[in-house]
Subunit: 460 residues, 2 copies
Amino acid sequence: MNKQSDRVLVVTSRLKEILGDRLQTSRSVREHHSHTTTLLPSQLPDMVAFPQSTQEISQIVKVCDDNSVPVIPFGAGSSLEGHVNAPQGGVSIDMTNMSAVLEVAPEDLLAVVQPGITRKRLNEELRATGLQFPIDPGADASVGGMVSTRASGTNAVRYGTMADNILELECVLADGQIIRTGSRAKKSAAGYDLTKLIAGSEGTLCVITEVTLKLRGIPEHVVAGYAQFATLDQACTTVIEAIQCGIDVGRIELLDPAQIKASNAYSKLDLAVVPTLFYEFSGGEAKTNEEYELFAAIAEGNGVSALTSAKDAEDRAKLWAARHDAYWAALAQHPGQKGIVSDACVPISKLASCIEQTQEDLSELGLDGYVLGHVGDGNFHVVLCVDPDNQAQCEAAEDLLKRISKRAVEMGGTCTGEHGIGQGKQGSLENEAGPALAVMQTIKKALDPKGIMNPGKIFA
Amino acid sequence: MNKQSDRVLVVTSRLKEILGDRLQTSRSVREHHSHTTTLLPSQLPDMVAFPQSTQEISQIVKVCDDNSVPVIPFGAGSSLEGHVNAPQGGVSIDMTNMSAVLEVAPEDLLAVVQPGITRKRLNEELRATGLQFPIDPGADASVGGMVSTRASGTNAVRYGTMADNILELECVLADGQIIRTGSRAKKSAAGYDLTKLIAGSEGTLCVITEVTLKLRGIPEHVVAGYAQFATLDQACTTVIEAIQCGIDVGRIELLDPAQIKASNAYSKLDLAVVPTLFYEFSGGEAKTNEEYELFAAIAEGNGVSALTSAKDAEDRAKLWAARHDAYWAALAQHPGQKGIVSDACVPISKLASCIEQTQEDLSELGLDGYVLGHVGDGNFHVVLCVDPDNQAQCEAAEDLLKRISKRAVEMGGTCTGEHGIGQGKQGSLENEAGPALAVMQTIKKALDPKGIMNPGKIFA
């Protein structure tokens, strides 16, 4: 086989023929496509392709496979573990030109979209239907990226993760072949569930070219507010009891005192600096009220110190805007520093203890961290603010991230609830999966024998 | 390699050493373990093993792998597509001795069970906790079998299928290695979702040895009843509109006039012989009442001719007993005949038309069929009553099954919503999956290179 540089030249020339100006090789475009939001260094692709159809993607991948050159799908670039980096160079496939809504079928509560569409634009396009796509990972990520990382967010406690909200995928395999997985049926027992295998595979098995998504009605009534407690344990116990009672929680988010202090300053709130839940219930009016009343009784039983309920849309919007801006609120406490976000998920009974131990680590390591949790799922994040030029601090941050992953696994949980493995968590995955990692690698090797599909992600 | 018969002798002798009397080779035991509930002929294993631990299962599989002898996991034997048949002989692994509840963690709403436990016994053991495992495929299937076929049933419209209700699996791979997939966290983005790949893999990738299941609270209030309509279309439109409105449907089942007539006779009901929905809403009292009122208004808008609502547990039990006995009610109309059950799932907007075309097929082919549907999921069954000695009738039944599968796929659906592929639907899967079938086969071959894991199922 020729040298990589020779093979890249062949691919560049072949793809220029296919794509013309829609193949870019300038440094600025390549830099944009290796942007990471973490401490991981940027690793540039050799070129960036802007295909307009599944057929073009199939051609690109075939050319890359023939020449053993890597393929890296690129959506919005908002992933957090170096997923769009190109450690072995290759072709970044930018989905900007593939971001149409192809079909909306309201009776079947589904939409067929191209992978480049972002969740906000999708919801704008759905507005007239009274339907929504509720999965909200915070960032305005692309649907393809959300599928690839098995994204979720604040609404997952009610609606599940991306994996639970896909009916069907169209994908291009490593050899350029196009397949469809799943169907429009709400459920199926027809062979291996390739849809669920591909969801969360981070571009290492195929390039996603079309996604059929489940939609939901927009709830008629909503009540939202906050509940404050003296201890994390009281807050978590309130959530456990609410879920055990069968309350159909819409969202329930935990903010630790450090985060509340930061959000008070950034989002002009005036909350007591104690462990706080932001909650939302929604649906029919009677249901929503009944759920709020039950929740209030449970919170009282756990010593709630302040409890609000806002039915007014503006008050609710202010609350959730503060939650969405939590990352920026944390960063604003440390001008010039960089934010790094951890992402572990544990059985809910272990959440309070896991967070408390993490807070002890923060103080032991002398780090500034702000804790946010999708508490209904046992999923929590620490926003760490570090000076990227302070090597000792960066190393302490790395140490903390590893401690969190290890502790989560020891508690029966996982090193990532929603951000994925990418480049940043391969060691943690090895620790978590044990011998199951080899099964994943066997599947990877069988479906991508030359290792061209987003190499260096999930596995070393 | 030696002849299969020699290899079977070696395996018999090795397994006798390991299991003693817990290896059985008598014809009656072998016959019991190849029992099918279909027109498929029974195909006996060479022997039946009754292991007591994961370690023993690992040893059994290792011996089988070393000698290229098939392994067929056996739960309750209630599958419907020949899943427990042994077309190439081999070792049936009976899970009777592996049916313990290992742990219940109410705070985390989970239970860890061995695969041999049946869903009814599991729910008996959970009774004191106020929690339930809600997935109900009708038969008192084993949990391991339900995982393997991605079973669902009447409650799936609310709680999802088996795949949605497993957190973690322990499995023995083809080489005897033991792995764990998943964790106790409610969600994860840590690498390929092997749990979901194995759910529905029908024993072709591994033997499941432990299952961590999600549990749910038992709803406090329940309202159930029936709604009758002049046409199938009115019944289906009612369900579509109810789901679009966000009603959190507990169960909603469709029975066609033929089935109503049969159930009237068998279950001592007195219903008008028209398309009928059996429904159930549950949860808080206000929520349940609100949902019923909204449902009633939607049903009125679609010309409902009779609508009942029973809050009394006995009345509800009678209704659901009739639904559960529908298969027996159909058979009772045809003494001495055998029941065969189809299983297709289509987008809900296509359900009425798919059933109507199926009814036309029934009359064209001169077959007696009774239609039942998990209408909220677009999943329906036809119970066909045939005389197994009447070859022409059996062929007509086969023809109908193929027509249903083909039509469901043409309508954007699947040839099986919950029964699986097994031996009976391999042609339909080929038609449905297209080139994705080769991807499934590549995975199978990579993980089971000698093809010992339940051979002849899903793939020829």
